[in-house]
């Protein structure tokens, strides 16, 4: 599987991060690893974009940060979804689904 990774739009990155954090609070590295493993490497988020997104989402109060201990006992910054963020996730998922459905209505042969 040496398919080249797909570039993602900013809004899509945000939704993916929110969806990932909906499982459980994670640190930035965890989020990046989770997305990579879940999509078998098809979707990779450039780490620069990931961290920018995390801090942006924190400012928007969709996620909140707290220092905690990592699996290997190191201090790490953990991000968790806020109520606001959960609401946002639902809304953006719906939008994205509508969008993708619409695109496929055009692409799929009838």
């Amino acid at each position: 599987m040496t398919q080249p990774p797909i570039d993602l739009l900013q809004g899509t990155v945000d939704v993916l991060i929110l969806r990932t954090l909906a499982w459980e609070p994670m640190h930035g590295y965890g989020v990046s690893r989770f997305i990579r493993q879940r999509t078998d490497g098809v979707l990779t988020i450039e780490s620069a974009a990931l961290y920018q997104a995390l801090h942006r989402l924190e400012r928007k109060k969709w996620i909140r940060a707290e220092w905690g201990l990592s699996e290997n006992n190191r201090r790490a910054k953990y991000y968790a979804l806020t109520t606001e963020g959960r609401k946002q996730l639902r809304a953006e998922t719906a939008t994205l689904k509508t969008y993708v459905d619409a695109v496929f209505k055009v692409l799929e042969p009838v």
Binding site: Y29, S47, R59, R75, K77
Partner: protein, 885 residues
């Protein structure tokens, strides 16, 4: 630990940078290790992790910028959260002490309400915009009598022209004279107040008409003057139904057709004591051509627009200099005649200013007393809350946070008090304007506008800060020992008590000042009401009739009209007597120069005496006693020998030997007028409610025709009940004549007294308020003192002190404060007395009786306020007091 819960974590910019570095370092370490586990060399793995990351520098900047923004947001929500917390806490605290809260709020509401109400009047009168372009450059100009208080009298036509020609201070000068008229439209005839103005008046004032134009050069010429009119906005709406096509139409005013050339804007008012409803051009030529009147007949007012850079003071000096020249050039007419000029703003406010400023001062004193009271109450409360505050401090609340919390409490208190105060002010302002009547110029616009609301808000916040800050600082100084001794520690108590005592002394002093002021005004009014006017006011109806039209051109027709009116009214049931005069004595009168036959006058100028035409039965109707000779009667008709009646004072002044009856005099400047024979002497009459017993010469209305009269009717019953039949009788004689100014003489007096009674009543209300607030303050500090000294008093009683000793101790303490406050207050009142002088009548500003009375009243109130705490002190059980510690 507690601290973390009390305040959310804010991070400094260096803290945020370190956090970000640590977060990213963690990522790189983890990623590098993952790559190594995948089989890479350590150095390659690290390089690869950095490479695949992307733009690191940009990411750092981006994240730091986002973090800075979050931090700002958090600080703001934090502050708001804390404020909400403080306000909520304050509200709960205040609700837990409903008695304290109610008293404090009512106190503040009264203080702020009184202050705001007076300020709104002040604002509507002294600080408003005037309806003149660049109003600060407009001045009012009067004639004045040197060395007397008559500094706002009239100018003569020739003097005015000389002033205008010689002055260098004004860009333009306009002149005007009063002159009313009757408009007969389709309905009842309407009497309108009018003003005759020359072509320069409106340009000088700087007025843009609402419709049409104002007067231009030439409109005041002999040809045009009688044909033009400009309407005021009020008359245009009221009488002409706001007819927008009125310009160019002809209307009949007092039997003459005039073309309306313009209508003035609604905000406009004429800068005289009473406004005018229509304006006609003033042509000075006839009076200038009459040598006897040109310089001796004073009936003109003037306005001027100052040249740029010239002050009113400089302009006045300029005019006074010219008046001196005129005095030298025309000694027979101008001796002692000078000129006065004031900024138009000062002119329109007139005599109301001192009363308003005094009242504003008084209401501010009340507000200060209210603040002192609440401050005292908060200080006492701070004692009982020391434990609560110590607990909060122990839990991590900083001192600044505690001060902020207490200050928020004060501000919440002030805000609620201010809101209630504003409601009081709204109601109070309405009541004030209704009862002020003629005291406020008709043109004043009193309302709770933005300016007033802003001031009230500012005053409220200032109050909250003043009475809140000191107790807050004092209270937050409490230390943790308060926890140990259960909050009853005595440290700091002495200082706090001193502070409270000082507040009470201050309150008593302010209250004393207000009481003295009120006392002086009350005594002034009492003097005025007891003042013997020289006639009787009871059961007298009065109204005015002005004759208009060709029908009354001759003296005989006027006599015929009044004879008919008097006999018809006299025949009405209940009428005792009916008479008429030129002007009601309560409303002032005219002056004229007096020449006596066979006595060449000594000075360059004849003496001035009061002058009044009266009907046959005027003296009988008004109850003015005839002292000698006779009154007027039908034989004194227009063609008979001219006769005159003198007031007792005038007769005594010029005929000290009592031989006035039979002497011959002449009134007025015209030497061609025949001599008049004195036929009687009547009692002295006061001119105006606060006026002097003016020496007056009375002539018969049968020999001096004014074309109108103020009628007086004495009845046996209610004077106003007589008005409808009187109106019917007037209509029967001439349905085109309006009956105006109908009132009882009592009401005329009452209205004339308004501008003295209202300040007195308000001042008295403020003084009573101040006294009650001060009493509450005294009670508060005494009760606190007794409570704080429970143990000490217990020991004293245990050692053998008698109840009378304890009682005396408490009362002495209260009297000490009273003595200090009273001394300060009375000294202050004596110093401030000058301010009141203009409002007083027949009472000295340092009237001993008033000062003694105030002292007695204040001491009594302080004693009463001490009574309850003293009795509580007496009842202290020494065993209980000692055991409770």
């Amino acid at each position: 630990m507690m601290r973390r819960f009390l305040r959310l974590p804010w991070r400094s910019s260096s803290r945020r940078r370190a956090d970000l570095d640590e977060e990213l370092r963690f990522y790189f370490d983890m990623r590098t290790r993952e790559l190594i586990e995948g089989g890479m060399q350590e150095a390659d793995a690290h390089r690869e992790a950095v490479r695949e990351f992307g733009d690191l520098e940009y990411t750092k900047q981006y994240c730091l910028a986002e973090d800075a923004m979050s931090n700002r947001d958090e600080r703001r929500t934090d502050f708001l959260a804390e404020l909400r917390q403080d306000v909520g806490h304050s509200w709960r605290t205040l609700r837990r002490a409903p008695g304290f809260t109610a008293v404090a709020m009512i106190t503040l509401a009264l203080g702020i309400g009184a202050n705001t109400a007076i300020f709104s009047v002040l604002n509507g009168l002294l600080l408003r915009d005037l309806p003149y372009a660049d109003a600060d450059r407009v001045a009012r100009i009067w004639g004045a009598h040197a060395g007397t208080k008559f500094d706002r009298s009239q100018l003569s036509a020739a003097d005015f022209l000389d002033l205008r020609a010689r002055q260098r201070s004004f860009a333009s000068l306009g002149v005007f004279a009063r002159g009313g008229g009757t408009y007969v439209g389709t309905g009842d005839p309407v009497r309108l107040s009018g003003m005759r103005v020359d072509a320069n008046v409106f340009n000088t004032l700087g007025v843009r008409p609402l419709l049409g134009r104002t007067f231009a050069t030439g409109d005041d010429s002999a040809g045009l003057a009688p044909t033009l009119v400009v309407l005021g906005h009020g008359a245009w709406r009221r009488v002409f139904g706001a007819d927008s096509g009125i310009v160019g139409k002809s209307i009949e005013l007092s039997g003459r057709m005039r073309t309306v050339i313009g209508v003035l804007p609604p905000s406009f008012f004429f800068p005289t004591a009473s406004d005018a409803e229509f304006f006609t051009p003033l042509d000075l030529t006839p009076i200038l051509n009459d040598a006897n009147r040109a310089r001796k007949f004073h009936n003109l007012g003037a306005v001027g627009r100052l040249r740029p850079g010239v002050s009113v003071t400089e302009a006045r000096a300029d005019l006074v200099g010219i008046a001196r020249q005129l005095e030298r050039e025309h000694p027979e007419s101008n001796t002692n005649m000078t000129v006065n000029a004031l900024a138009v703003r000062d002119a329109v406010v007139g005599d109301t200013r001192p009363a308003l400023l005094v009242l504003f001062g008084a209401s501010t004193l009340v507000l200060l007393i209210a603040c002192a009271n609440v401050a005292g109450m908060l200080l006492s409360r701070a004692v009982s809350r020391r434990q609560e505050l110590a607990v909060r401090a122990a839990l991590g609340a900083g001192r600044a946070r505690l001060v902020r919390q207490l200050l928020t409490e004060s501000l919440v208190l002030a805000a609620i008090g201010g809101a209630i105060g504003l409601a009081l002010a709204y109601w109070g302002t309405g009541a004030l304007v209704r009862s002020a009547g003629e005291m406020l110029p008709a043109s004043s616009q009193v309302a709770l506008d933005g300016m007033v609301l802003a001031t009230a808000a500012f005053v409220t916040l200032a109050c909250g800060a003043i009475f809140g800050l000191v107790p807050a600082i004092v209270a937050s100084r409490g230390n943790h020992s308060a926890l140990k001794d259960g909050g009853r520690g005595s440290s700091g108590g002495a200082g706090r008590y001193r502070l409270r005592s000082a507040l009470v002394v201050g309150q008593l002093a302010l209250a004393a000042v207000l009481l003295v002021g009120a006392g002086l005004l009350v005594r002034s009014l009492a003097r005025l009401q007891q003042n013997d006017l020289g006639y009787s006011l009871d059961s007298v109806l009065t109204f005015e009739v002005v004759l208009a039209g060709e029908r009354y051109a001759t003296a005989a027709s006027q006599d015929q009209f009044f004879d008919a009116l008097y006999s018809r009214i006299a025949a009405l049931p209940g009428v005792v007597a009916v008479g008429g005069s030129g002007t009601l004595p309560l409303r002032g009168g005219s002056m004229g120069s007096l020449a006596i036959e066979g006595r060449p006058h000594a000075g360059p100028k004849l003496p001035e005496v009061g002058y009044q035409p009266v009907s046959d039965d005027f003296f009988k109707t008004m109850g003015v006693p005839l002292k000698r000779g006779r009154t007027f009667g039908p034989p004194d008709h227009n063609d008979a020998a001219p006769v005159v009646i003198l007031s007792e004072g005038l007769a005594r002044e010029f005929w000290p030997n009592g031989d006035a009856v039979g002497a011959r005099i002449r009134l007025g400047p015209d030497p061609s007028v025949p001599w008049m024979t004195v036929v009687g002497i009547v009692g002295d009459v006061r001119i105006g409610v606060a006026g002097d017993l003016r020496p007056t010469a009375y002539v018969s209305t049968r020999q001096d025709h004014w074309g109108g009269a103020a009628i007086v009717v004495r009845t046996t019953g209610d004077p106003m009940a007589l008005l409808p039949p009187v109106r019917r009788e007037l209509k029967a004689i001439d349905p085109t004549l309006p009956l105006t100014q109908a009132s009882t003489m009592k009401d005329v007096q009452s209205i004339e007294l308004t501008d003295r009674r209202l300040p007195m009543q308000l001042m008295a209300a403020f003084a009573v308020l101040a006294l009650v607030l001060a009493a509450v303050g005294v009670y508060g500090v005494m009760a606190y003192s007794v409570a704080a000294r429970t143990r000490e008093i217990g020991v004293r009683v245990a050692l053998g002190a008698q109840p009378s000793n304890v009682f005396g101790m408490v009362v002495r303490q209260g009297l000490g404060a009273a003595a200090a406050g009273l001394t300060l207050g009375l000294v202050g009142a004596a110093a401030l007395g000058r301010v009141l002088a203009r409002l007083l009548f027949g009472v000295s500003p340092t009237d001993a009786a008033t000062f003694v009375g105030v002292a007695a009243m204040l001491v009594t109130v302080v004693l009463a306020a001490c009574l309850l705490p003293a009795r509580r002190a007496v009842r202290i059980d020494p065993l209980e007091a000692l055991r409770s510690e």
